[in-house]
Symmetry: C2
Subunit: 519 residues, 2 copies
């Protein structure tokens, strides 16, 4: 357990040059926008954790008004003019890395935002708010038809956004660039090909191995109250700070950032039958939370006060969830917490069996609960469907069938219902282009994990003794504190000494599952 007290900023490169009038003027406008965006994040958090069922119509108006206003303030010509002037000046040595990051990141968003009219932004927000409500009901009633009109609207809006933003090769490029600056469809395809290959190969070998891991110990009846305590304890173990965060409950687990390290909240969902659902979600969202809480406070209320990209963000959720959270080393010490809270289920189960159960590979229906080998196949399915939707190659009514056909093709299983199929993710109320970031996150995660192994040759030993603080400290200093100061491609180079590559993930996956399944 470690404290995340926010010290004064050690790294002066992360302090803005407020003595410069243009920097100061830009920050003043960006602070206002960041505050409004934080309120939008709050409204979203509230919608998923507390909003009364009958209130969504009011919330939809509030969100549309807010997003319209954010857009109006952020696209103010004065911001454009300051960015233009500063772009030429910030390369000079008297400016800091934070100044340069601020101008780069803001310019990227500004150039996108100014291409979209306010009415489109408001419409997108209305569709997102009302579509979320429709999705919640459609999912619980297993009724795709009531969600279809909202998906149709989302597609139309996403196409219009892409066309207005512009793209070199394919419409989907314009959407990928929103959360992962510079990422293209071609690059995703290049990265996904070897990932698909290693996933499919490993899955085949595992299925052919005859080894069947027994994960029945993770099923049964687990009191929700006890699960909640377990999630809180494990979050404390990895250093998540409840003084600047909170753990709530929602239909779909998520992390909310409010544009400062002072407040980063998580949700999980609990299933009485499956312990893994909440526990692994807590570690996943906890990884996001650590990243947010670790930002330098000097960046707060600016566009730099979040992760370097969504892919980088996912790298940290996957690092803490999988590379650490599904390792025997980590549980060697902390498994006692699980045993204490659920003695009936685990008193006669050793840590080895527990961790093996956590790593059972089995094609399954739900992405967020998939094992590491099959996880990226879930992503590739969504990536292919999103492209087809954005390119207008697909009729919405035919989507459930296509979804099921792809699950049969990639994973050899067919969802028995749309609730467990196409309706499982919340993402398609917001837009497209985000799913590939999850796989990108897995790749970054493995590359960073390999670096940690190199830097700390005794890492496994220390994990076995219950230590994780040294990992968190290194990540904070070298990554979390920096927020969005550097582009993801620069950050991965700084962190690992080389450009991003899928090879580390391929090696990680092959090594880990060859060992577990004795291939």
């Amino acid at each position: 357990m470690e404290s995340t007290t926010h010290h004064s900023v050690a790294d002066t490169s992360l302090v803005f040059t407020r003595s410069d009038e243009q920097v100061q003027a830009l920050l003043q406008r960006l602070h206002e926008v960041a505050d409004l965006e934080a309120l939008g994040a709050l409204a979203d958090w509230d919608q998923q954790t507390a909003l009364p069922k009958g209130a969504y119509e009011a919330r939809m108006h509030q969100m549309a008004t807010l997003q319209g206003l954010v857009h109006e303030r952020f696209t103010h010509p004065e911001i454009g003019s300051l960015l233009q002037k500063l772009s030429e000046r910030v390369i000079q040595p008297e400016f800091t890395a934070a100044d340069r990051g601020l101008v780069r990141q803001t310019l990227h968003s500004y150039n996108r935002a100014t291409k979209l009219p306010r009415s489109l932004v408001e419409e997108q927000e209305r569709v997102r708010a009302a579509g979320t409500e429709a999705w919640i009901n459609a999912r619980s009633n297993n009724d795709f038809a009531t969600f279809a009109p909202w998906l149709t609207k989302t597609i139309a809006i996403q196409r219009e956004i892409a066309d207005r933003i512009g793209y070199a090769e394919t419409r989907y490029d314009a959407l990928l660039d929103a959360t992962e600056p510079g990422l293209t469809t071609a690059r995703v395809e290049e990265l996904f090909a070897p990932v698909r290959k290693v996933s499919s190969d490993l899955l085949q070998r595992i299925q052919a191995s005859g080894t069947d891991i027994d994960d029945s110990i993770l099923q049964g009846t687990f009191s929700i109250e006890q699960q909640q305590i377990l999630c809180e304890k494990i979050l404390q173990v990895i250093g998540y700070d409840f003084n600047h965060g909170q753990l709530a409950r929602s239909a779909h687990p998520f992390t909310t950032s409010f544009g400062s390290p002072l407040d980063a909240r998580l949700t999980v969902r609990y299933s009485e039958q499956f312990l893994q659902s909440s526990l692994m979600a807590a570690l996943h969202e906890g990884g996001h939370g650590l990243y947010e809480q670790g930002q330098s406070k000097s960046l707060m209320r600016t566009p730099l006060a979040t992760g370097a990209s969504m892919g980088m963000h996912e790298s940290q959720s996957r690092l803490w969830e999988n590379a650490i959270g599904r390792s025997e080393a980590f549980w060697t010490r902390h498994y006692a917490i699980v045993q204490e809270l659920f003695p009936a289920q685990f008193k006669n189960v050793d840590v080895r069996a527990f961790v093996r159960a956590l790593n059972k590979v089995q094609p399954s229906l739900i992405r967020v609960e998939a094992d590491e080998v099959t996880y990226n196949l879930h992503i590739i399915i969504r990536f292919e469907l999103e492209q087809a939707m954005v390119n207008g190659e697909i009729a919405v009514e035919s989507l459930p069938g296509l979804w099921n056909a792809k699950y049969q093709e990639y994973l050899g299983i067919t969802p028995p219902s749309d609730a467990d199929g196409i309706l499982q993710d919340i993402h398609w109320t917001s837009g497209f282009g985000y799913f590939p970031d999850y796989t990108l996150g897995n790749l970054y995660s493995a590359q960073i994990f390999a670096t940690l192994h190199r830097l700390f040759p005794d890492m496994d030993e220390r994990l076995k003794h219950g230590e994780t603080g040294f990992i968190l400290q290194w990540l904070r200093e070298n990554m979390y504190a920096l927020g969005t100061t550097y582009l993801p491609e620069d950050l991965i180079q700084r962190l690992t000494g080389e450009p991003g590559s899928p090879q580390y993930f391929i090696d990680y996956l092959t090594h880990k599952f060859t060992e577990i399944y004795d291939l």
Copy 2:
């Protein structure tokens, strides 16, 4: 239990004339402001129910930015110009009561708001947010000194606001007018004199009577989970609609309105030792909630989408809490819920004894838990201190002493600590002029209750049979649906057929407690 499904508006007088271009233009601007204010209400709700301890600095910035923006948008000259044009036109018969109310109410707020600079509004919001945080800590540490600087700032801001708004007789008038349009210090004094007299006289007679009500049954150990179920059940009994609301927990009970009948949330606080704390707070806040949920949906996202005034709002919380919620008639049927949830404590206690305990008169320290006889004495103390503060007649350091002296004078008791004394209420982080509305609420409440008795001569009988729906229905149709369409003085006339008068409260109090204490 009744449903609050929002029907289409039956009363066309509550529909705005949107076909009129000026009305439409005004509404468009006011919708935006209402949406932003709803987000401010959400941020406030969140601060008191969920915000992580270490996050208040971020929240303070968000609130200051939002309030500054609301002020900027609301004071836009176009609104002033539309109001001026419409003021002359809305008296014509083709306009509706809602149009006229909208122009009147907006003009009142507009004239106040345009007198205040944005910087002052932002500063007030920062002081409120940071002061709330300081108050929470000061109260739990019983340390007035750490709250004093924030109170000093509040006084300075309130004085500046009053001076900028202007007033005819005394500075405090300018503050009273904010929540109760047209109310003056002189009028409050005129109303409070007989209230003080009847309270003091009754208290003396009760203390001299030798009758001592045993309320020990309300003390003991009451599981918080069971209390929560009790609060929810009683709220359902009076018709509070959880589909458009929620019950949460906070340090100080309150109701949040989000500018529409679709979302009106309540909080209570639970004490394991005192059942009354949560139960009576639920009925009190439930009264506020019913008022909010009962508004005509046609008024949503406008300044008319709340109660007619704060005094009128308090009249409904006090009506449901006291006139109904502390009556034997109400509990005749519903006491079974209490007995079922707390059988050990109540199985051998009859309803009579339960209700007598709820009505025990005893000078006590905490306003929100005071009996009906002494309640207004708590208010008068605050009214006197607020005036002295605003007039600059008092040093902040001397306030705890003055507070205690007044408690001795009015109630014959001295708080053993500031936490149970001057630090008990959250209000002084927001400003002054609100407390008198509570007493005004008691007066309105008694007058409305007398009307209900006249209209429904069998009211007591029906209450004894568990019915409250007929009361709610009448209040909805004649009061709640109207929101702020009418001034409080016009509304009380419409509701009761005569102007507001303290006589009904005096009669109510005298009759009720003469009977209970057999005076």
